[in-house]
């Protein structure tokens, strides 16, 4: 159960990271957020924030799957997460930023919940 929470968190963070990374490309940004303007500072923050999230998603992967399988799982999570922006950009770009925020929220909440329960139920 706790393991599943960690894995969900890994997916959430990786999806948020991949969505963010896809939005750093101007064409994608205009597609997904036609009303906002992309200034350089914002794009830079998006770029580094997304990379940070992608790297951080390794943590819940390892906590969820264990050290050996966790790294394998992390690569698979990144692959699957990247599919989301690819599909959404082509077929429903208006959902992209929403998915990003959902992923981020889900990732952090699940990570917090999993960490708390792991600490509580520690033998």
């Amino acid at each position: 159960m706790i393991e599943s929470l960690f894995i969900i968190s890994a997916f959430g963070m990786a999806i948020a990271g991949m969505v963010g990374l896809s939005l750093t490309k101007e064409r994608h940004f205009r597609l997904a957020l036609p009303l906002s303007t992309a200034n350089t500072g914002r794009q830079r923050a998006l770029f580094w924030g997304s990379w940070l999230l992608l790297l951080l998603s390794a943590l819940p992967s390892i906590l969820g799957w264990g050290s050996g399988s966790g790294l394998t799982g992390w690569f698979a999570v990144l692959t699957v997460a990247a599919l989301f922006p690819v599909v959404l950009l082509s077929y429903a770009p208006q959902w992209l930023s929403g998915l990003g925020w959902t992923g981020l929220a889900l990732g952090l909440v699940a990570l917090a919940a999993a960490t708390v329960s792991r600490l509580t139920f520690l033998p």
């Binding site: 894995i7 990374l21 050996g68 790294l71 990247a82 690819v86 950009l89």
Partner: protein, 538 residues
């Protein structure tokens, strides 16, 4: 060849990918199915019980030994495999070098048995998921010597195609998320890039590790130069690298030690449910030797710790760690990552999905080749493109037809009579006959028609499998779902899903074809023809 590095790499990528592309596609389809091999096994023998993971190892070992005493007297080796995880739902016993004259049923054997009764199962004969999975490296109808080299060559081509593909993909990071649908060649290239790049770690891992399985056979000079030639040299090498014991039979009989205390020792050390093999060398001999092996599916390292015992006194002789050296670790990790035996449900699905992405990569690559060449050919509008036409016409049968053929393998499993003697062989014949017939159909039809037709067939063949299951077994979705019998329910739901995906693809192809035709008619009013149609679309 002087057009620059990237262009020669593009040439290399195209031809390395195409020449063995169909073999690679076959390997990807059957290999991907292989990630659910035991689940497919179960669907193909629905009369077997649910997995028997809770049986104590001591009991399983005792049942195994008593079966082996009857079936395989005088064997050089008896092995009892425990049903500890999804890779082995039931206990298994296998033996080597048994004495058929003193009553052994066969010299070598590998059979499962029922942990509740200790008797062999009686179920329909089938190749099961194991055979389907084995095809991805063993192919079929070909002698081993040929298939090994064909597979090796195809895998090597794949490695070259991946490497050259990375080199020619200029904007690998910039175009990471780019897919522009509905734009002809551009879309196919986008799809090929996305499928290749997103799962690149998987593709590289699966290809490189695929070569490692038979690496010593593929690089024969290495052992010849370091250990000498001949089978003994090879044996020495394997013993040195993988630390196997060498024990000779003495010829002097002695009774086998009781397995219970040995198993207790192992379980104390590893905990319950980790003991995987009870491996008995020369049972009944003075020099009997017993190896207890821990699970090799606890992580990507595809080996477990071993406890070596004297088979007569029961004394612990040696403990061999799972990893003996760094090169040995790299080796077993590559094999472990390839097989993914350690993967639980989520990771297993991710493996399956990565396999599908790989299948898609090869498939889109095959299509891309024809789309590109068709455009060039239409621009030139003269000369023969017999090769192009052949590939264009074969592709639908090769790609979508193979999917239907795999479904036919499952149909045959249920439709061939249980008492039919060669049903196991005919399951596979049905698969290849279906594929062959679909190839003929594919060649006979224009590709624009053939693609949606073939996918529609695949859709029907897959989506109706749960219905077939309903009529041919009592373990249909109505039963398996409420019972939480996930291997069976999962199979039915997955093939249903695959059928729906194929139906969607077929539908999209029809829609696109219609809009293309309409577009063509609107543009080319005065002289309708192929050449003008091509201009309008470019």
């Amino acid at each position: 060849m002087k057009e620059g590095f990237r262009q020669s790499m593009a040439w290399l990528h195209t031809w390395a990918g195409l020449i063995l592309g169909w073999v690679l596609f076959f390997m990807f389809v059957t290999g991907t199915a292989g990630y659910f091999d035991t689940e497919i096994d179960r669907w193909m023998q629905p009369e077997l019980p649910v997995a028997q993971h809770d049986t104590p190892a001591v009991d399983v070992a005792a049942m195994g030994v008593s079966l082996l005493r009857e079936e395989a007297p005088g064997a050089a080796r008896w092995v009892i495999a425990m049903p500890i995880d999804r890779n082995d739902p039931y206990p298994r016993r296998f033996w080597q070098g048994a004495d058929t004259e003193s009553g052994a049923i066969a010299a070598n054997g590998n059979e499962r048995f029922d942990a509740s009764s200790g008797e062999p199962f009686s179920a329909r004969a089938t190749g099961g998921g194991q055979h389907l999975y084995r095809m991805h490296w063993r192919l079929h109808y070909l002698p081993r010597s040929l298939s090994d080299w064909l597979i090796g060559l195809a895998t090597m081509f794949m490695l070259v195609a991946i490497t050259s593909g990375i080199i020619i993909h200029k904007k690998i990071f910039k175009d990471f998320f780019t897919f522009r649908p509905g734009k002809g060649q551009r879309s196919w290239l986008d799809a090929h890039n996305v499928l290749s790049v997103l799962a690149l770690p998987f593709h590289v891992m699966i290809t490189y590790s695929g070569l490692i399985f038979m690496a010593f056979a593929y690089m024969p000079l290495v052992i010849a130069a370091t250990y000498g030639t001949g089978p003994e040299a090879r044996q020495t090498m394997i013993q040195e690298v993988f630390s196997l014991p060498v024990v000779e039979r003495s010829g002097e009989p002695a009774s086998l030690t009781a397995l219970g205390p040995l198993i207790d020792t192992a379980e104390e050390r590893w905990g319950p449910g980790v003991l995987r093999h009870v491996d008995i060398h020369h049972p009944g001999d003075r020099n009997a030797y017993i190896i207890l092996r821990a699970s090799h599916a606890q992580g990507p390292v595809r080996s477990g710790e071993e406890l070596h015992f004297d088979g007569v006194s029961g004394e612990l002789i040696d403990t061999i760690p799972a990893i003996t050296s760094a090169p040995n670790a790299a080796w077993t990790v590559l094999l472990g990552l390839h097989e993914g035996l350690f993967a639980g449900p989520v990771l297993r699905w991710l493996y399956f999905l990565s396999g599908i992405l790989g299948t898609g990569m090869v498939g889109t690559g095959l299509v891309l080749w024809t789309v590109k060449r068709r455009q060039q050919a239409e621009r030139r509008a003269s000369g023969s493109h017999r090769g192009l036409v052949l590939v264009e016409r074969l592709n639908p049968g090769m790609v979508a037809g193979l999917l239907t053929a795999v479904a036919a393998y499952f149909w045959a499993n249920r439709l061939l009579p249980v008492e039919f003697a060669q049903r196991e062989a005919w399951e596979v014949h049905s698969m290849f006959l279906t594929w062959f017939m679909l190839l003929i159909l594919s060649v006979a039809r224009p590709p624009a028609r053939s693609w949606p037709e073939q996918f529609a067939l695949a859709a029907v063949a897959f989506a109706l499998l749960p219905v077939l299951n309903l009529f041919t077994s009592d373990r249909h979705l109505g039963r398996s779902l409420p019972a939480g019998d996930w291997p069976l329910a999962g199979f039915d739901l997955t093939v249903l899903g695959l059928g729906l995906v194929c139906a969607w693809v077929s539908y999209r192809l029809v829609v696109r074809q219609r809009s293309k035709l309409k577009h063509r008619r609107n543009v080319t009013t005065p002289t309708p023809g192929r050449a003008s149609g091509a201009e309008s679309s470019s």
